[in-house]
C-alpha cells in the first residue's frame, strides 16, 4: 500500500492540504475558546483553505472538523488493492447487539439511522433453538448477483474481492436491489442527508452520496488503503468482527490476530445460505459458548 503515493500524488497532496486545514481549524477553535472569556466574538483568525489560500474567518464561525479521508477516484476505484483478497469473519457467539458498528458506519458514510448499511438482526432458526444476534452487511460475494444484473456496469467486483457501486454511473433502475438475496443494498430515495459535501466523489467512501442511486456496505476501502481496519471492526466493543486477507490467511478483530483457516476450522465457520451459490466473502462462526446471554431489551433501547 506504500506505493500508492507514487501512483496518486494529486490525491495525497490534497489529503495533506486538507489535514493542514483541519489542524489550523482546530488550532483556531482552541484559540477561540481561550479568548472567548475576553468577549471578543468579532475577532478573526487567519486560516489556510484546502487550495492553499489564506482567509480570515470570525472566531464565532469556526467549528472543529474531523479529518476526512478520501477514497480513490471512480476510475481508480475499479481496480482494487493489488495482492489482496479481503475477507470478514463474524463471531455470532460474541455479539450482544451493542450496535456500535452501525453507529460508526452511519457516521463515516453519512447515513441516517433509518437506512443503515449494517443491520443487526434478531435470528431464531426454529422455535426450539435459542435466538441470537446476527450483524449483517454486504457479503461482497465472489459470484455477485447484483453485478450480473447491472445494465451499465455501475456495480462491479474488484480484484481484492470488494463489490463497489459507482454512483456517477448508476442509473437508478434498482435491479441490483431486487437481485440481492441478502437485502444488502439501500437506495438514495431523496436528497443526501449531509447536504452538499465539498469533496470529490469516490466509490470507495460512497461520498458525497448522490440522489437516485444505489449504495451499500463497501468494506471501507479508503481505510484499507491506509492499512487500517474498517470502522465497524474497530468500533465493536466485543471483538465480534474479524477482518483480514485471505491470501495472508490472517484476520484480526483489532485485539487478536488469528489464522483464517484455523479460525474457520476450529469454530466451524460457515457462510449464510451457501446453497444460493453466491460465494460470500463474509463468514459466520456459530453462536455457541456465548459471551453474553441473549437480551431482547437492547434492541428497544435504540
Amino acid at each position: 500500500m506504500e506505493n500508492d503515493t507514487t501512483k496518486i500524488p494529486a490525491r495525497r497532496k490534497f489529503l495533506i492540504d486538507l489535514s493542514n486545514g483541519s489542524v489550523l481549524a482546530i488550532y483556531g477553535l482552541s484559540y477561540n475558546s481561550i479568548s472567548s472569556c475576553k468577549q471578543a466574538s468579532e475577532e478573526k483568525t487567519t486560516l489556510m483553505t484546502t487550495d492553499g489560500k489564506l482567509v480570515q474567518v470570525p472566531n464565532s464561525e469556526i467549528e472543529e472538523m474531523e479529518h476526512l479521508s478520501h477514497g480513490a477516484s471512480p476510475k481508480e476505484a475499479r481496480k482494487g488493492i493489488p495482492g489482496k483478497k479481503f475477507v470478514m469473519v463474524v463471531d455470532l457467539a460474541k455479539c450482544k447487539n451493542a450496535k456500535n458498528c452501525i453507529e460508526a458506519c452511519d457516521k463515516h458514510h453519512n447515513l441516517t439511522p433509518d437506512r443503515p448499511y449494517i443491520k443487526v438482526l434478531k435470528m431464531q432458526d426454529n422455535e426450539k433453538s435459542a435466538p441470537y444476534w446476527m450483524p449483517k452487511k454486504c457479503f461482497q460475494c465472489d459470484n455477485p448477483p447484483c453485478v450480473k444484473v447491472c445494465p451499465v456496469g455501475a456495480t462491479y467486483k474488484r480484484t481484492d474481492g470488494i463489490v463497489l457501486v459507482d454512483n456517477e454511473r448508476c442509473i437508478g433502475c434498482r435491479f441490483c436491489m431486487a437481485a440481492c438475496p441478502y437485502s444488502a443494498r439501500v437506495f438514495n430515495w431523496g436528497a443526501p442527508p449531509e447536504g452538499k459535501l465539498d469533496i470529490p466523489y469516490s466509490p470507495e467512501t460512497s461520498l458525497p452520496s448522490q440522489i437516485g442511486t444505489v449504495a451499500k456496505c463497501d468494506f471501507c476501502p479508503e481505510m484499507l488503503r491506509q492499512n487500517k481496519l474498517p470502522h465497524c471492526v474497530t468500533s465493536c466493543p466485543n471483538g465480534v468482527i474479524y477482518f483480514g486477507d485471505e491470501i495472508d490467511d490472517t484476520v484480526t478483530n483489532g485485539e487478536e490476530t488469528v489464522r483464517l483457516s484455523t479460525l474457520l476450522k476450529e469454530k466451524a465457520g460457515y457462510r449464510y445460505m451457501e446453497e444460493l451459490g453466491t460465494k460470500p466473502r463474509v463468514y459466520y462462526l456459530p453462536p455457541v459458548d456465548r459471551l453474553f446471554p441473549f437480551e431482547e431489551t437492547t434492541q428497544e433501547n435504540s
Binding site: 437506512r115 438482526l121 450480473k148 451499465v152 454511473r169 433502475c173 431486487a178 438475496p181 441478502y182
Partner: protein, 446 residues
C-alpha cells in the same frame, strides 16, 4: 364547421362514407374526451415534476419494496402490446377472415402500449438523466439490456406493421378527402410516400406484410418472456420460477384480447361502425377470450400449486400472504373476478353480446392490472433475511398520490395516442386486395 365539411365532402360509396366520416367531423364528445385526457396528463406531469425535483422519495417505494406500481404498470403495458401480434400474425396467418376489421385497432393499441411501456420505465429510473448510459455503457449480460433491445425491436416492427398496412388507406385519404384542413392534406401527402396502387407496389406491400407478420411472432413472445426474466433471474419468492415466461405470455394474450373487446365496443359506438364491428365479432372475441383465459388458468395453477404444496421458507410466507394474508382480497378478486368467473360467463351465448362482454372484459383488464401488482410487490416484501432495524414506513407499500397521478396519466397517454391515431387514420382497413398469384386491385370501392 365540421357539419358543413361533412356535407360538402362527397363519398363514392356508403362504405367510404361510413369509414371516413370520423376523419372529417369532430364531435363535442371527442373534444371533451381529449380535454379530459389532457387534464389527467397535466396531473401526472405535476406528479412527475415533483418526483424529478425531490427524487423517488415522493413515491412509497423504499429499500425493501424497491419496485412499485411503475414496474407493475410497465409489465401491464408490455402485456397488452402483445395483442398486435395476436391479430396481425396469429389470426392473420391462420386465415381468420372475421378478425380483419380488428387488425388495425389492435396494431394501434400495440404501438401505443409499447410506447407507454418504454416511457413508464424511464419514469421509474432514479437517474433519468443517465438514460443513454444503457447504450454507452451497456453490459449485454444484464436482462435489462435484453429488454431494451427486444422492446425497441418490437416497437419498430409494430410501427412498420401499422404503417405499411395503412399506406393504401392514407393514399385514399389523400386522393379523396377534399374538405379537410391544409395540414391534414400535407400529412396525408407526406405519409402516403407516393403510393399509387401500382400493382408492383401492391405486390411488394403484401410481401412485406407477410414477412412482418411472421417476424413479429417470435419477437412478441420474446418481449414478454424477457420481461418475465427480469423477475425470474432473481431469488425472490414468486419470481424464482421456470414457469414465469409462458405464464407472462399467456396472461398477456388474455389481457390483450380483453383490451381489444373494450376498444371494439367504444370504437363501434362512437364511430358508428356497427356494420363493420358486428355482434359476430363480439361473439368470436368472447370465444377467443375463453380459450386464452383457459391457457392462462393452466399456467396459473402451475405457478401456485407447487409452492403452495411444499410451503418452503419465504416461498411459503409469500403464498400465505397471497392466499389468506394482507393481499388475499386483491388476490382472490384477480383470480375469481378476472379469470375464473369470466371463463364461466363467457361460455354462455348470452354473455357474448356487446354490453355483457364489455363489462366482463373490463373486469379481466382490471384483474390483469392488479395481477401485475401482485406479481411485483408482495415478492419484494419477503426477503430471505427478516426485515428489521429500518423505519416503519419501509415495511408497507401504499402508493402515494404522485405515483397514482403518474400511473393514471400513463393510461391517459395510452388513450390519447390511440384516440389521435384513430382520428387521423381509418380505423377499419378500407382498401381490399384479393390475395392470389395475380394481384388484382379492386377499383372504385367508393
Amino acid at each position: 364547421m365540421s357539419k358543413s365539411n361533412i356535407e360538402l365532402q362527397k363519398f363514392r360509396t356508403k362504405r367510404g362514407k361510413r369509414l371516413l366520416t370520423h376523419l372529417i367531423s369532430t364531435s363535442l364528445q371527442y373534444k371533451l374526451w381529449i380535454a379530459f385526457l389532457l387534464l389527467l396528463i397535466v396531473l401526472g406531469l405535476i406528479g412527475y415534476y415533483r418526483q424529478l425535483r425531490y427524487g423517488l422519495v415522493v413515491t412509497a417505494m423504499r429499500d425493501y419494496t424497491s419496485w412499485g406500481i411503475y414496474i407493475s404498470n410497465f409489465v401491464f403495458f408490455v402485456a397488452i402490446s402483445l395483442v398486435g401480434s395476436l391479430f396481425s400474425s396469429i389470426l392473420k396467418l391462420n386465415k381468420n377472415l372475421w378478425a380483419r376489421p380488428l387488425t388495425r385497432i389492435s396494431e394501434i393499441i400495440a404501438v401505443a402500449a409499447i410506447i407507454c411501456a418504454a416511457v413508464i420505465i424511464i419514469v421509474d429510473m432514479g437517474r433519468p438523466d443517465r438514460i443513454f448510459y444503457v447504450i454507452t455503457h451497456l453490459r449485454i449480460q444484464s436482462p435489462i439490456i435484453w429488454d431494451v433491445i427486444i422492446i425497441s425491436t418490437y416497437l419498430v416492427i409494430s410501427i412498420l406493421l401499422l404503417y405499411i398496412s395503412l399506406l393504401p388507406d392514407i393514399a385514399l385519404c389523400r386522393d379523396r378527402l377534399t374538405e379537410i384542413p391544409k395540414w391534414k392534406k400535407t400529412l396525408y401527402r407526406i405519409t402516403a410516400i407516393n403510393w399509387h396502387n401500382h400493382p408492383k407496389q401492391i405486390a411488394m406491400l403484401q410481401k412485406v406484410n407477410k414477412i412482418l407478420a411472421i417476424a413479429i411472432l417470435p419477437v412478441a413472445f420474446a418481449i414478454h418472456t424477457v420481461t418475465s426474466w427480469l423477475f425470474a433471474t432473481t431469488w425472490r419468492p414468486g419470481w424464482d420460477s421456470t414457469n414465469l415466461g409462458p405464464y407472462f405470455v399467456s396472461g398477456a394474450f388474455m389481457a390483450g384480447a380483453a383490451v381489444i373487446i373494450v376498444a371494439m365496443y367504444f370504437v363501434r359506438k362512437h364511430l358508428k361502425l356497427s356494420k363493420y364491428i358486428t355482434n359476430i365479432h363480439f361473439d368470436k372475441m368472447g370465444k377467443l377470450l375463453v380459450l386464452l383465459s383457459l391457457v392462462y388458468l393452466y399456467f396459473n395453477i402451475n405457478e401456485y400449486l407447487g409452492p403452495a404444496f411444499k410451503m418452503v421458507g419465504v416461498e411459503g410466507e409469500h403464498i400465505t400472504e397471497l392466499f389468506v394474508g394482507n393481499y388475499a382480497p386483491m388476490y382472490w378478486f384477480v383470480q375469481l373476478g378476472g379469470l375464473i368467473l369470466p371463463i364461466i360467463f363467457l361460455m354462455f351465448n348470452r354473455f357474448r353480446k356487446p354490453l355483457p362482454i364489455l363489462i366482463i372484459s373490463i373486469f379481466v383488464v382490471l384483474g390483469a392490472w392488479f395481477k401485475r401488482f401482485l406479481i411485483v410487490i408482495p415478492s419484494l416484501q419477503h426477503p430471505y433475511l427478516p426485515i428489521q432495524g429500518v423505519d416503519e414506513s419501509y415495511l408497507h407499500y401504499n402508493p402515494t398520490w404522485e405515483e397514482w397521478a403518474i400511473t393514471i396519466s400513463s393510461f391517459a397517454w395510452l388513450l390519447l395516442i390511440i384516440t389521435v391515431l384513430i382520428k387521423l387514420f381509418p380505423v377499419i382497413p378500407i382498401k381490399k386486395y384479393k390475395q392470389g398469384s395475380e394481384t388484382i386491385f379492386k377499383q372504385n370501392i367508393f
